[in-house]
Structure formats: C-alpha cells, structure tokens
Amino acid sequence: MVSLPSRPSAVPALDVQPASIRACGSTLLAASAQIDDVGTFVAGDARIADWTTSQGSTAYHRGIRPIGRRADAMSLALRGVAQRVDRHADEMAALVVEHDDLDDRRLHLAQQVAFLETRAGGALTPEALVALEDDCVRVGGYVAVFESDLRRWSSAVAAEEQAMNDAFGRVLHLDAVDRIYGGVADPADAALDAKPPAGASPEEVNAWWDGLTRAEQQAIIAAAPGAIGNLDGIPAGVRDQANTVALERDLADWENVEQLGLITDEERTWLENARAAHDARQEIEDRVDPITGLPIETQLYLYDPAAFDGDGAIGISAGDLDTADNVAVLTPGFGTDAESAPYQADRAATMYESTRFLDPDASNATLFWIGYDAPDNAPWDEGWDGAGVISEQMATAGGERLADAIDGLRASRDGEPAHLTAIGHSYGSTTTGHAAHDHGLPVDDLVFVGSPGVGGDTDHASDTGVDPEHVWAGANSRDPVTYLANHGWFNLETFAGAGLGDDPAEDDFGGNRFEAESTTRGPGPDFGQHSLYFDHDTESLYNISQIVNGDYDDVLTAGHNYDPWYAGVQDPELDREPTTQATR
C-alpha cells in the first residue's frame, strides 16, 4: 500500500495594495509637517515681545504653551504612524512577492502529487512500486517544506498586520499622545542645529547628512523638509522625500484657502506652480521604461514654488539620479518657468525612453532643471528687438546656480560616479556655457542645442573647461534662434543690441557638431524648429542620447558652420536631406 503525499494547502489570497498604503503614509506625513509648524509658531512668532505688562498678556502667553506642547506631541505621534505605515507598505510588498512564489510552488507540487496519484491507480510491477514509493517520499518531503514555509509566511502576514494595528491603536487618543510624546525632544532640532551654514560646499552638506542617524534624517524630512529639499549635497532620493512632503502640504494649504475663497493673488501663482510640479511628476510616472515595462521612477529634486518672484523653480528627474549609470541635466531657455514643468517632464521622459532604448544595458536618469530665472519674453513672441536688449545677465546668474546644482549631484552620490552630461537648450545653453566657463562643471560631456550663443567670454570649446572632444552642438539649420550667435567675422553683436556669445556649431569654436535637422522643416527659418530637438525619432534626440550614453562612435556628426571671407556664414546642413532615427 503506497503512502501518497497529501496535496499542498491552498495559499490564502493576499489582497493588499502597497502603493495605496504608501500614499496614505505620505498624506499623514505631510499633515504632521503642518502640525509641527504650529509648535514652531508657538515657540516663535506667537510670542509678542512688546506686550508683557498686562494681565491679558500674561494669560495669553501662559495659554499658548499647552497648544504648542500639544501640537509638538501630535506632530511626533502622527509622524511616527506615517513612517510605520510606509514601512508597512514595504513589508506587505515583500509578502506579496513571497505569496506569488508560494503560489507557484503549490501549483508545481499539486501537479506532482496528482501525477503520483495517477501512477498509484495503475497496475504496478514490483520495481515500479519501489520507484513510486521513493517518489512519494521525495515529493512528500517537498510538500512538508512547502507547508512549513506557508505557515511561516501566514504568521509573518498576521504579525505585520498586528504591528500596524498596534501602531494605530497606540496613539488613537490624545491622552496617549500627550503621555507618550509630551515634552519629547524632536530629533530634528538638534540635527538641524548642526547643519552647515549657507554657502557651505555640497561636500560639507553631504558629510553632515551622512553623519546623522536614520531617526534624525527621517525627523528632518518630516519636520523641516524645506531645510534640505533643495540643498545641494543632499542625495536625490532624500530631496525627493522632503520635497514631496512640502508639495503635498502646499497643495493642501492653498487648495483649502482657494476653496474658502480666501486665496491671495500671490498664493494663486504659487498654487499653479505646485500643481505644475504635481502634474509633471505624474506625467513621468505614467510612462514606462521601454525595456522593462516598469513605471519610470521620478525624483522631485527641486521644488520652490515662490522662487524668482513667483516664476518658481522645479526640477524633476525621469530615473534615479543617485544610482543611474548615465545622468543628463537639461536646462531649458526662453519663456520657461515653473508652469513649463509638465512640458519639460515630457522631454525628460522622452530622453529617458530614448537613452534606454539605444543602450538597454545601462541605467539612465534625465533631470530637467528649471532652477534659474529665465527670460520671460521669447523672440518668437516679440521679435529680437521687442524682447528688449537680450542680455547675458540672467545666464550669468543662472550659470552659478547650475554649477552649484551639478556640484551637488556629484557630491551627493555614493559609489560609482555617473557619466554626467549637461545639456543646454536655447537660452539654457547660454546659462550652461556660463556655468562651465565661470565656475567649472564637473561633467563628462557638454551639449548645446538651439544655441543663441554660449556666453560672451567663451570663444572656444576649451574655454568651457571640458575637453573639446566632449563639447557638442546641435543646430537645426532652420532654427532662427541659432542665427543670433556670433559668427566669426560677421559679428551679430549690433543686431539686437547685444549678442549672447559664439556659435558652438561653428568650426572655429572647436567642438563637435551633430545632425539635428527635422523632417518637418520647410525651406526657410521657422521658430517651430527651435523646439524639436527632443522629439522622438529625430536626429537630434538620437544623437543627444548617444552622447548621454557615452556611445560617441554612434553619434551622427554634421559639418560645422563656417565663415568664409567672401560670403556670409555657410551651413552645410541647409541642403542635407533630414532623416528619421528610431529612438523607441
């Protein structure tokens, strides 16, 4: 009589959505930051220094203390729950993976047991019987291991659920909150006291951050996201966490006052910028890696909705800036402000898709960086003269910010440094040129596209501080913005009152030029051609992507502009037939 192994037990369904749990944690964390502000207010601006001599002032100052203590305790309690919820999401995600694995094993084992049952039901020779008995013992062993693993997994699920419920229950009531957290020092406070002062290098900032305990780091993200969200030297993943807290808090705040009909014009502007940041990130998250099919990771690297007198500053990456093999930083130009973020996000996602498609073995990240005050007016709206004197002032100031941002990217990264490419488009190329020339950019490659000039002091690629072999220019022959750049003998400095520097696509500049024509071009100049450099399946996106990936041999080079003594500037790209280059 053969002893057949029992069929493996069914794996209970695990109906959970870790992403939704994480969203819940994120909401609670943002709310805790808001409550923390009340405590800060009570300790600071709520105190009325010049009102001290009356009964009323005494009663007031005494009366606000419990509110402050309550707010401090509540913020710590809520932050603790938020962080536990986040960890719960991670634990449940891991348990889901284990569940799927157990399910696979069960299916496999059930089939094996069924096969043994079939064999046992037939006529068996003595040898076959022995073989069957051996197989039953073997499979029975596997089933026993499976059952043990299943029990262990079920216990782990129950334990994690209980732990999460305990965390909720522990601070359900305010008396418990006061008892547990009343008077407890916030770990964020001492840690922030030791933060390097303004003007410290990204390396110093990074060293300070790495020296904090995890509890201190998490406390700062929750309580004072503004202190680190835009601080160069802080890792991108951390800046993303902090800026996410700040963004969610801002959206809740300003949407609340908007709903109440109390929003000021200034707040309305900031709210539009915050919504632009939210929508921009959503855009990237809704697109997938072309190789793995997984959603593209994003990081809210820069978020300051009130910067530059309301124009706002936003920088979001498609991809993980802390770990990607190849990183590109894209600086846009004329007419760009925070409300441009959704369009720039599309371009960053497109660049991510293109770079991954062309080199599936490397990981990538593209950061669009609206981090400087770009000219509001654009030549296609108002003409070169109508735009006023086109000056390099904004590019000079912007260049300093860009140089800090790139220094920050370098300093904040652990492990292998990225292959880093700075890409300047339009006036952003003037800014990038200034960043390189005035401050030095620790990049591997420099790319200028649609450039009106790379800054007045940069006469040659070597003036950028980057090896000229790694300085690249893409100029669409129909793009009138590129005509502004000085062209050697025929100096355009008097054309609009000022030029913006030399043409990086000209032979004298000493850099490389790549093909950047569009199949949509007409016979003559057209401002519409100025914004096509990052569209899918264009020569320009293809070549920029090859540079970002470090695949220089695959770049399609183009003849430089040149300026013969006997004629005006000549562009060999004018007559070449444009091509389509697959980028997805």
């Binding site: 799927d100 696979d104 084992l109 998250e285 809704d286 190789i291 099919g293 441009s340 339009s426 096509l532």
Partner: protein, 184 residues
C-alpha cells in the same frame, strides 16, 4: 511660420475634409477633441482584448497599466502640435510546473484570432517584438515584446495615430491623467 500656425492650419484642413465648416473660434466644434477621446476609448478596448487573450495563453500576473496622452511633435517650448494616446502593460509570466510557456509567435496566432494582424516578428538585441494593428479599432497599433534576457515577462503597448490639436488645447491633453484602471 509662427508656432501654433502649423497646428491651426492642420485643424482647418481637418475641418474642411470632414465637411464641417464650424466657427474656428468655437472650440466645442474642434474635431481633435472628439478624435482623441475616441482614440483613448479605442486603445483601452483593444487593450482589454489583447490582455485577456495573452493572459489566457500565458498565465501570469498583470501589473497596473500605464496610459496617457503624449505629445507627438513639439510646436514651441510649452506646446505640442499633436497628441496620441499610448498605453503599456507588463504581464509577469508565472513559472509553470514543467513545459515551455507560449512563444511570441503563438501569442501572435492567438491575437490574430481576436482580430489583430501582425507582420513577421522583428528581432532586437534583447528579444523579439510583434507589431501589428487592430481590425476593429481603426488606426490602433499594437506591439507585443518578449525579452527573455531581461526577464520572464511580456510587454504590451498600444497607441493611436497622432492628431493635430489647436495650440490652446495642448495643456489640456498634456496634463490629462484621469483614467480609471482597466477592468480586471
């Protein structure tokens, strides 16, 4: 030509072709809105059929799909001249006990039975892809990709043709993200 003029010309031509001579200022009569909304419906309904067929042949875990309008061609720094609707979904193949899982050509055959037609599979550095179209949802393109060197999953991508839009609608399509999940 100023940016946006290409798009405006395209829309006027489209209006002319459809025989609808509505007032250009009345954006409610703009055909691009109806076209793009229909395109989204078509891509999603085609996706439901593709996913059901593939899951039948290839038991596995379907990840949440990602779909939205994407700009085709830029018309300015903050404007797209045209949009399409694109949707992607990844199905992680469950490891079956014994026996090979359905191959890409087998998936293609099954999908042809559902009203899709494919060209011969193309081979890239990481795997193979089938590219085809839907017979019932006109203009909808389907790509099924299998990259065993990257992982045991199948990628499904669907998209519609690019539709020219008026400049003032660019923001609306770019920031549209209100899609409900596809039915399970």
């Amino acid at each position: 030509m100023r940016p946006g003029l290409h798009a405006a010309v395209a829309v006027v031509l489209l209006i002319g072709l459809t025989g609808c001579m509505g007032d250009d200022d009345d954006s409610g009569a703009d055909p691009s809105r109806a076209l793009l909304e229909q395109q989204r419906d078509d891509v999603r309904s085609a996706a439901v059929r593709v996913i059901a067929a593939v899951e039948d042949e290839l038991p596995g875990t379907r990840r949440p799909e990602k779909g939205r309008y994407q700009g085709c061609q830029s018309a300015g720094v903050d404007t797209f001249a045209s949009f399409q609707y694109r949707l992607s979904v990844r199905i992680d193949v469950a490891s079956a006990g014994g026996g090979d899982r359905a191959s890409l050509p087998q998936l293609g055959t099954r999908l042809e039975g559902e009203g899709f037609s494919f060209a011969a599979a193309s081979t890239g550095s990481e795997g193979q892809a089938l590219q085809g179209t839907s017979a019932s949802e006109t203009g909808i393109a389907v790509t099924v990709t299998d990259r065993p060197q990257v992982g045991d999953f199948v990628l499904l991508e669907l998209s519609g043709p690019c539709v020219d839009v008026p400049e003032e609608d660019s923001d609306r399509w770019l920031r549209d993200s209100e899609d409900e999940p596809l039915p399970q």
